[in-house]
Amino acid sequence: MDNAILRRRKREVLGGVIVLAALALLPLPIKDVYTQNLIIITVLFAGLAQAWNILGGYCGQISLGHALYFGVGGYVSTLLYLKAGLPPSLGLFAAFGVSGLLALPVGWPCFRLSGHYYAIATVVVGEIGYLLFLNWDFVGGATGVFIPFHGESWAQLQFKTAKLPYHYLVLAFAAATWLTAFLLEGSRWGFAWRAVKDDVTAARSLGVNIFSSKMAAAALSGGFTGMGGAIYAQYVGYIDPDSVLAGHFSILIALPAVLGGVSTLWGPLIGAAVLMPASELSRSYLGGSGRGVDLMLYGGLIVIVALARPQGLVSLFGRKDDHARIA
């Protein structure tokens, strides 16, 4: 690696530490529960979008079915807790494992497809998961599952009114996805994925094992998404197929990365910081009427950002030489 790349990576680490510290301090002066909740959701989706970015951005496989991993992760930690007594703090890792493994049999048929064929196959796989959970009585079917409250504890990841512990939980999650993306950028896999994305045939001729490199990206991406789903389930205390597996969740997970800037370290966070408050605020101030004004604003925002900043909002920040790399 030449010096310019090393310097840039040092700068990224420094930036990462500063942003992490700032986000750790951010909720301390805030007393308002609504704002606390908004920040937690934003940071959670920054992490989810970064998880999506590993497969959709760095590896270039536009998945529109990540709701599957998100929902399955939520169900895994919740059901292990309710049916086997495993504390959700460990359940998070089980969710990572199950969703990560699930990405392999999903990837096996889907990675044979390219372009739009791949994107549509992921939509379909997500829909299959949604329909199966909806009709599966063991997991609560359409009624879903409640997580009963058993007192405040980090092992159970349950806190009656305090939001701060959840804030640090989602922050640790988002930081873990960021760090993974950072390490991948500089790794052999990271280079292989960029090569696969830019030119499949050329990458193959250089000896990149395309199929297994895509499978690795899918497993990591699915695993982190499942972990995020488990955290979400613990945070809201109730899950059903419509709230965690429905197709629009796949879009919610991908959007911050796409609008913030795909295959960048900061795009998912910037995208989430714009999108989540925009959608929450428009919903609470305009959605109450039930007249769809919030949807119109949200949809309009997506169209405008995608057309005006195709390389992502991240391009508004940073230095020129970084842009060249993103392109």
């Binding site: 064929y117 796989v125 909806l134 796409v258 925002l301």
Partner: protein
Amino acid sequence: MPVAEILQVAAGGLLMGLIYALVAAGLSLIFGLMDVVNFAHGELMMLAMYAVFAIWQLTGADPLLLLPVVAVLLFGLGMAIYRGLIARALSVQFNRGMVQIFVTFGLAIFIRGAAQFVWGGEFRSVTGHWLADRSLNLGGVFLPLPQVAASLVCLAAFAGLLMVSRTEFGKALEATREDRDAVALIGIDRDRIFAMGWGLGAGAVGIAGVMLAGFYYVGPNVGASFAVIAYVTVALGGFGSMLGALVAGVLIGEVEAFTAALWEPSLKQVGVFAVYLLVLTFRPRGLFGKM
């Protein structure tokens, strides 16, 4: 399963399948022409259904009479969407594929919100029209007339699309599909062809929407469920192939009908998706897609 029942299920599958085929044909046409998947396709169908509902409510006109009106409206809307959004999305330098997906996705959410704004969230239906509640009895197999009419109109629309492909315009369309840069050299206005392609695609799904409104509820989310089936139909038939859309649409209608009858109605789409994944494992470009 007795023969009469098998025939009944198969007939139901065929009637629904022809509608799926026409919805998919519009999507496939646009994709084949310019490599863009319109993720707002289901919402265009929803708008056509609401247009029927609104005009019917206002004037009491029969949905069948509204067919040409709504088809023309949708044609104009499709062209407007191309001129206003898609032409811009095609001209971006970065992440072109992703921008196209999310521009049409944003548009879908916007249209859904707009429909909710105008008509509210509740389900509506067009009742008491000319064909409502009538059915045809073919030796014990009952065919509801609104669905028979819908599938006949869909077949006619398919024939219409094939006729268009034989005209001068159709040849320009085919040439643009083959090589979008070379056609500019022989004096074909590519932008106009693309806009017309969007008009035709939206018009086709509009016709399907009008006929569907005769027997199906209308709501802001009605497009979403049909859209997933439409993407599956197009991918199964092969992007850009009209014949593929027709065959895949009917196949999907049949698989759905038989899954519901033999297994479990609420899992009928799982049967469809399973067949789709199975076919794509062996033919990654769909049944009639160019390899």
